[in-house]
């Protein structure tokens, strides 16, 4: 039983790479979407705020798994297109990530005191200028810890891609199990690999946090 694990080490590592790639892509797209949503959420226009609220509330109340099923099985029928399991997984995960990150980024933006906005505004800065030079650098500190938390969550969530047949780490483990009857051990190894991956991410995140500390300003936020 043990030798099976070693034979498949290469396959498992490659699958780990696939998982990293999938979650990283979803994170990137989700960050972009989340940033736009956060700007909408902190804007003066009530309509924009309501739209963001509906979007984020949806993803808090509905499992990403059924969104995934819908993307993979429903979208092709709805729009008469072909969609790969990779694409469906990326869409569903990125959509969920953007909902999660919009809250994180908006919290970061609102954590910057009003005095900063006013000081920047009275010097004649435009909205893009003050976001870039004053607000976002200060928001980044508050955003980083939960941002890392979202990434770790995405890595775990990427396992649902296995349920639509995408071959990432979990699916690889299941496939190996089927073809070799290695059973339990292989799932245990898969779990261990996820643990190593996520624990490393949180350690790296912590190190990054410490480097970003501005004189006297403690980092906030807990991860989930």
């Amino acid at each position: 039983m043990d030798s099976t694990v070693f034979i498949y080490a290469g396959v498992l590592l490659k699958a780990m790479g696939t998982t990293i790639w999938l979650s990283w892509l979803a994170l990137l797209i989700g960050a972009l979407g989340g940033f736009i949503l956060a700007l909408m959420q902190t804007s003066r226009f009530r309509a924009l705020r309501i739209v963001t609220l509906l979007y984020t509330q949806f993803f808090v109340s509905v499992p990403v798994l059924i969104v995934l099923f819908f993307c993979y099985y429903g979208l092709p029928r709805l729009f008469d297109i072909e969609i790969s399991s990779f694409a469906a997984a990326t869409i569903a995960l990125a959509a969920h990530a953007s909902a999660m990150l919009s809250a994180v980024i908006a919290a970061g933006i609102t954590s910057v005191g009003r005095g900063q906005w006013e000081a920047a505004q009275v010097s004649g800065m435009t909205y893009p200028q003050l976001m870039r030079h004053i607000i976002m650098p200060q928001a980044a500190q508050v955003i980083l810890p939960p941002f890392v938390g979202v990434y770790i969550r995405l890595v775990k969530e990427s396992s649902i891609a296995a349920l639509i047949g995408y071959v990432e780490l979990t699916q690889t483990g299941l496939l190996i199990r089927e073809s070799t009857h290695a059973g339990l051990a292989i799932i245990g190894v898969v779990a261990l690999l996820y643990f190593i991956l996520n624990y490393s991410i949180s350690l790296a995140g912590g190190a990054l946090e410490r480097r970003l500390k501005v004189a006297g300003r403690p980092p906030l936020g807990a991860r989930q």
Binding site: F58, V60, S61, V62, P63, L65, I66, V67, F69, F70, Y73, G74, R77, L78, I152, V155, K156, E157, S158, S159, I160, A162, L163, T170, G173, L174, R177, G183, L184, I187, G188, V190, A191, Y194, F195, L197, N198, Y199, S202, Q224
Partner: protein, 222 residues
């Protein structure tokens, strides 16, 4: 309205299954939360124990469970039980898996609740001659419960959402319903909306109950 009824007709035969699936989701989530509370309390005490080895074990327990996907954990339990010679239904496997997963988060919440109890409370209780057990039962845990009650509600809804993964190990809950009904009728958009609606309703119901019970339990105690 008639158009809507016409649209949904192919799904009608499946609504009965949806009802029982929704109950399964609810019962599974409730069971998992209760079990997670019990487990979490034990591990939380382990986290603040005087013995270094116990603390390390508890920390490893929490860190491991928090960093692996629930899906992988569910598969592990699902394959583990038969290997141990235990013949349990998928529901039980899912319950155990979800309880373990959730207990890791519960531990952290309980730990925060425990540390929120002022040292003075322990001193007052001890000076009155209470044993450690009496102290925990009458003084500490009631106060802890008060502190954790609100996060408990949030966790409950999160467990309901997470229960969707139980469909992977053939539990007949709402996500599983969506897959079957969808595959049979090909009305994926409709079953998706219905399933989403059910989850939203379940979460809102739980929230409502949680708020009401909270008001009853903690009425005007300041």
């Amino acid at each position: 309205m008639e158009f809507l009824a016409g649209q949904l007709r192919p799904i009608y035969p499946y609504l009965g299954e949806l009802y029982s699936a929704a109950w399964t989701t609810l019962v599974l989530s409730l069971g998992a939360i209760v079990a997670a509370l019990v487990l979490g309390t034990i591990v939380a005490f382990g986290r603040v124990s005087a013995h270094r080895l116990v603390r390390i074990a508890a920390t490893f327990y929490v860190e491991f469970l928090r960093n692996i996907p629930l899906l992988v954990l569910l598969y592990f339990i699902y394959f583990l039980l038969p290997a141990l010679g235990l013949r349990f239904s998928p529901f039980v496997s899912a319950l155990i898996g979800m309880a373990l997963h959730e207990s890791a988060y519960m531990t952290e919440i309980l730990r925060a609740g425990l540390s929120a109890v002022p040292v003075g409370q322990y001193e007052a209780a001890q000076s009155q001659g209470m044993t450690r057990f009496q102290l925990q039962r009458h003084i500490v845990l009631p106060q802890v419960f008060r502190t954790i009650y609100v996060p408990l509600g949030t966790q409950f809804t999160m467990v309901i959402i997470a229960s969707s993964l139980a469909s992977a190990i053939s539990v007949d809950e709402v996500s599983g319903w969506m897959q079957t009904a969808g595959a049979d009728t090909f009305r994926f958009f409709d079953v998706f909306l219905i399933a989403a609606f059910v989850y939203v309703v379940l979460c809102q119901l739980v929230n409502l109950l949680h708020t009401v019970v909270g008001r009853l339990l903690f009425r005007a105690k300041g």
